[in-house]
C-alpha cells in the first residue's frame, strides 16, 4: 500500500499523508481506546470506594511501602526502555539487547511483586468475592498486570529478534512502538498507585454521606 505511482519500483519509505508511519498512528489510536478502558475500571473502583460493608478494607491490608518499591521498579523499567530505544537508534545492538532485557527484568519483578501481593491479600482474607473492594481491586490491578505480561512477552520477542540480528537500526520503529505501549502501561500504574494505594489505601468501610 504505498501511495507511489506504479512505475517507481524501489520504494524506500512509504510516503504517508501525515509523514508518520501507519503503525505509530495505530498505536496512538489504540492507546486512546485503552485510556477509556482503564478510565472505566478506575472509575468503577472510585465509585465503589467506601461501599464495602464487610472487611478486609483497604486500610487493613494495603501495604504502601512494599508497593512503592514495586512502583519504583516499574518506573525503572520505563527508563530502561528509553535507553534500549536510544541504543537501537544509534545502532548499538549490544546495548539494545542489554536494555531490553533489563526492561523485561524490571517488568517481571513488578509482576512477581503483584503475585506476592495477591497471595498475601488472599491469606488475609480478601478475594474477588469477599466484598466489593476485593472485586474492584483485583479486577483493576489484575487487568493492569495482564497488560504488563503482554508487554513482557512482546519485549521478549523483540529481544530474540535482536539476538537473531533482525532488530536493526533501520527497523527501530518496532521497538519504538512497543515502547509506546510500555510507557502507557507504566503511566496507568502511576494513576492506579496514586488513587488506589496512596489516596484510597487508608479507606475503611462504609462512610456516612457528608452533611448528613
Amino acid at each position: 500500500m504505498s501511495s507511489i505511482p506504479a512505475a517507481s519500483h524501489s520504494a524506500p519509505a512509504e510516503p504517508t499523508t501525515t509523514g508518520l508511519n501507519h503503525r505509530k498512528i495505530l498505536m496512538w489510536a489504540f492507546l486512546a481506546s485503552e485510556c477509556m478502558f482503564f478510565t472505566t475500571l478506575i472509575s468503577t473502583y472510585m465509585i465503589y470506594r467506601h461501599r464495602s460493608l464487610i472487611g478486609p478494607f483497604p486500610e487493613d491490608i494495603i501495604d504502601i511501602p512494599v508497593t512503592s518499591v514495586s512502583t519504583f521498579v516499574l518506573l525503572m523499567s520505563s527508563l530502561a526502555m528509553v535507553l534500549a530505544l536510544s541504543a537501537l537508534q544509534r545502532g548499538d545492538i549490544k546495548r539494545t539487547k542489554i536494555w531490553i532485557l533489563a526492561t523485561v527484568g524490571f517488568g517481571t519483578t513488578f509482576l512477581l511483586f503483584q503475585v506476592f501481593e495477591f497471595n498475601q491479600f488472599y491469606h488475609e482474607g480478601l478475594s474477588p468475592r469477599t466484598n466489593i473492594f476485593g472485586s474492584t481491586f483485583f479486577t483493576l490491578t489484575g487487568t493492569h498486570g495482564a497488560h504488563v505480561t503482554i508487554g513482557v512477552i512482546w519485549l521478549l520477542s523483540l529481544f530474540f529478534a535482536a539476538v537473531k540480528g533482525k532488530l536493526k537500526k533501520e527497523n527501530a520503529l518496532n521497538l519504538e512502538i512497543a515502547g509506546l505501549y510500555w510507557h502507557f502501561v507504566d503511566i496507568v500504574w502511576i494513576v492506579i498507585f496514586t488513587l488506589v494505594y496512596l489516596i484510597a489505601g487508608n479507606d475503611s468501610g462504609v462512610v456516612p454521606p457528608a452533611g448528613g
Binding site: T17, L26, S33, T40, L41, I54, P128, T130, G134
Partner: protein, 617 residues
C-alpha cells in the same frame, strides 16, 4: 458478464474459496461484510415477524412468553450489532479507499481479522440456541436480571461472550479506518476536501474506539459476577457485600448512546453523498456538515442518562441530561437543513438511491422529533418503556439507518458489479418499504401513549390495543414482501442488470473515476485532488476543453500485499477463547494459544510475497 467476473474475480486474485478465505483486499472484505449483514437482516427480520405475529391479536399463544423474550432480545442485538454496524463497515471497506485515492486500507490483514472476528462473534452468540436457547434479557441486558440467580442457564453467557468478541472486531476495524483516513489520502485531499462519507467514517470510527472499551469492561464485570461470584452489579444482601445494578446502566449507556451515533452517522454520510449527486449541486454548507458531525460525536458522550430518567437520579442529574440532550438536536437539525439546502434549486433526479435518501430524511425527522420529546423529563417518564419508545427508535434505526443503507446499496452496487440494480423493482421496494414501515411503526406511537408497555408478549383485549396492533402486524408483512423484492432485484441485476459503466450517476467523487469494477489495486496512478468534488471538476474542465476524459489504461500493476490466513486463525482463537469463558478453562487456554500462533505467524509472515518489492505494512 465479463465485467462481473472481474470484480469478484480480479485477475490477480484467485477466486477459489481459499482465495476468499485468505483475501485481504478491502473490496472483497467489504463484500463479505455486506453479504453477512444482509443474511443477518433476514434472520433479524424473521424474528421481528414472529414477534409481530404473536402480538397481532390479544391473548395469543402463538410463540409464548419465553420464546418471545428470546426473539426480541436477539432481534434487537442482531439488528444493531450484526446488521447495521457491519453494513456500515461494509461501506467503509468498499468505499473509503476508493474515495480517498488509496490502494487499500492501511492494514489489510488487520482488516481481514476484523471481518473474521465479526463472523465468529455472531456465530458464537447464536450458537446459544443449541445449548440453552437464545439470550433473553433484552438488548441492553439490565442488571440484575442478568445475575446468575435470575438467569441461571447459559443464555446470558453466550450473549456476553458474543458481544465481547464483536467489540474486538469493531475496535480493530475502526482503528484501521482511522489510520487509513488520516494517513493514506491522495495528495491534495486535505481534511476539508474529504467527501462527507469519509468524514462520517472517521468520526464513527473514533466513536467506536472510544465507546467500545466501556462496554467491554462492563461485560467483563458481568462475566466475573456470573463466573467467579463477584458482586459488581449485585446489591448486598443481609450479612454480605455488594455493588449496584445501576452501575451497569451507566456503563451500558455511556457506551450505548455513542453507539446510536455509530449506527446513524455512516447513514448520514451516505445520504450526504447521494443527495448532491442527484441534485447536481455540491453539498450545501459543507463545513457546517463537518462540524455538526464532529459536535454530535463529542456531545454524544454527555447525554447517556437520558436513558435513565426513570431510575431516579435526582433533579440535578435529570436536568443536566435533559439539557444536553436537547442541545444535541441542534447539530442534527443543521444537517437536515443542509440536505434541504442541497435539494433546493437542484435539478433532482428521482432514482432509487435518491428516493431512499429522501425516505431517510423524512423518516429520520419523525424519529428525531419523538426523540426530542424523550428529552423532556416529565414527558419521558410517561413514555419510558412503552411502545412510544419502540416507535421512536425504529424511526431512527429503520427509517434512518436502514433507508440510508439501502440508498447506499442502490448507489454503489454498479461500481462493484458494473450492473445497475433494476429501477422498477427498486421503486417497488422503496414504496412497499416506506408504506409497510409507517404502517408498522406509526401506530406504535398511539399504542405507547395508550400505555402499552414494550417487551410484553401478549395483552388482554380489554385494553383497547387490538386494532393498532393488528395494523402494525399487517405492516410488518408488507416490509417482509419489500425485502423479498429487494433480494430478487439484487440477484437478478447481478446477472442481467443494465450495464453501468464507470460513472452511471455523473458522480463527483474519486470512486467514479475508475473502472467498474475497480481493479484489484484500485488506482494505477494515485490521483491528485484539487477540490471537494474532484471528478465533477475534472469533467467540467474536460467539457470546456472539448477533450473526452481518458479511461485509465493499464500498464502492469502495482504490487499488492499477499493473501494471508493468519488473521483467520487469530480470529478463530479469539472466539474459542470467548467460548472457553462459558465452558472450560482448557478451551480458554487453547483459544489464547491459537491467538498467539496466529499473531506470531502474522508478524513473521512477509506482507508481500518474495519477488515483490513494495512493503505492506
Amino acid at each position: 458478464m465479463a465485467a462481473i467476473t472481474q470484480t469478484l474475480r480480479p485477475a490477480t486474485e484467485s477466486n477459489t474459496i481459499w482465495g476468499w478465505i485468505t483475501t485481504i483486499d478491502h473490496k472483497r472484505i467489504g463484500v463479505l461484510y455486506g453479504m453477512t449483514s444482509i443474511f443477518y437482516f433476514l434472520v433479524g427480520g424473521i424474528e421481528a415477524l414472529l414477534l409481530r405475529m404473536q402480538l397481532a391479536s390479544p391473548n395469543s399463544t402463538l410463540i409464548g412468553a419465553d420464546t418471545y423474550n428470546q426473539l426480541f432480545t436477539m432481534h434487537g442485538t442482531t439488528m444493531i450489532f450484526l446488521v447495521v454496524m457491519p453494513a456500515s463497515v461494509a461501506f467503509f471497506n468498499l468505499i473509503i479507499p476508493l474515495q480517498i485515492g488509496a490502494r487499500d486500507v492501511a492494514f489489510p490483514r488487520l482488516n481481514a481479522f476484523s471481518y473474521w472476528v465479526f463472523l465468529f462473534g455472531g456465530i458464537l452468540m447464536y450458537s446459544s440456541f443449541f445449548v440453552d436457547g437464545l439470550p433473553d434479557v433484552g438488548w441492553f441486558g439490565y442488571s440484575n436480571l442478568t445475575a446468575y440467580t435470575f438467569s441461571g442457564n447459559h443464555r446470558v453467557d453466550f450473549w456476553v461472550a458474543g458481544l465481547l468478541v464483536l467489540g474486538v472486531s469493531s475496535v480493530a476495524g475502526a482503528l484501521n479506518f482511522i489510520v487509513t483516513i488520516v494517513n493514506l489520502r491522495a495528495p491534495g485531499m486535505r481534511l476539508m476536501r474529504m467527501p462527507l462519507f469519509t468524514w462520517t467514517t472517521l468520526v464513527t470510527s473514533t466513536l467506536m474506539v472510544l465507546a467500545f472499551p466501556v462496554i467491554t469492561v462492563a461485560l467483563v464485570f458481568l462475566l466475573f459476577d456470573r463466573q467467579f461470584g463477584t458482586n459488581f452489579f449485585i446489591p448486598a444482601v443481609a450479612g454480605g457485600d455488594g455493588g449496584d445494578p445501576i452501575l451497569w446502566q451507566h456503563l451500558f449507556w455511556i457506551f450505548g448512546h455513542p453507539e446510536v451515533y455509530i449506527l446513524i452517522l455512516p447513514a448520514m454520510g451516505i445520504v450526504s453523498e447521494v443527495i448532491p449527486v442527484f441534485s447536481r449541486k455540491p453539498l450545501f454548507g459543507y463545513p457546517f456538515m463537518v462540524y455538526a458531525v464532529i459536535s454530535i460525536a463529542f456531545m454524544g458522550f454527555g447525554v447517556w442518562s437520558h436513558h435513565m430518567f426513570t431510575v431516579g437520579l435526582g433533579p440535578i442529574a435529570d436536568s443536566f441530561f435533559a439539557i444536553s440532550t436537547l442541545l444535541i438536536a441542534v447539530p442534527t437539525g443543521i444537517k437536515i437543513f443542509n440536505w434541504l439546502g442541497t435539494l433546493w434549486g437542484g435539478s433532482i433526479r428521482f432514482t432509487t438511491p435518491m428516493m431512499m435518501a429522501l425516505g431517510f430524511i423524512t423518516m429520520f425527522i419523525i424519529g428525531g422529533l419523538s426523540g426530542v420529546l424523550h428529552a423532556v423529563v416529565p414527558a419521558d417518564t410517561q413514555q419510558s418503556d412503552t411502545y412510544f419508545i419502540v416507535a421512536h427508535f425504529h424511526y431512527v434505526l429503520f427509517g434512518g439507518s436502514m433507508f440510508a443503507l439501502f440508498s447506499g446499496i442502490y448507489y454503489w452496487y454498479p461500481k462493484f458489479t458494473n450492473r445497475l440494480l433494476g429501477e422498477g423493482l427498486g421503486k417497488l421496494h422503496f414504496w412497499l418499504m416506506i408504506i409497510g414501515f409507517n404502517l408498522t411503526f406509526f401506530p406504535m406511537h398511539f399504542l405507547g401513549l395508550q400505555g402499552m408497555p414494550r417487551r410484553i408478549y401478549t395483552y388482554g383485549s380489554n385494553m383497547g390495543w387490538d386494532f393498532w396492533n393488528m395494523v402494525s402486524s399487517i405492516g410488518s408483512v408488507i416490509i417482509a414482501v419489500s425485502t423479498l423484492v429487494f433480494l430478487v432485484n439484487l440477484f437478478r441485476s447481478f446477472k442481467s442488470g443494465k450495464v453501468a459503466g464507470n460513472d452511471p450517476w455523473d458522480g463527483a467523487t474519486l470512486e467514479w473515476t475508475m473502472s467498474s469494477p475497480p481493479p484489484h489495486y484500485n488506482f494505477e496512478t494515485i490521483p491528485t485532488v484539487y477540490s471537494r468534488d474532484p471528478f465533477w471538476e475534472e469533467k467540467e474542465k474536460a467539457d470546456a476543453a472539448g477533450t473526452p476524459i481518458k479511461a485509465p489504461v493499464s500498464h502492469g500493476h502495482p504490487h499488492m500485499p499477499s493473501p494471508s490466513f493468519f488473521p483467520l486463525i487469530a480470529a478463530l482463537g479469539l472466539s474459542l477463547a470467548a467460548a472457553g469463558t462459558i465452558f472450560s478453562n482448557v478451551l480458554l487456554a487453547f483459544g489464547i494459544l491459537v491467538v498467539l500462533i496466529g499473531v506470531y505467524g502474522w508478524s513473521f509472515e512477509p506482507a508481500t510475497k518474495p519477488g515483490a518489492e513494495h512493503s505492506g505494512h
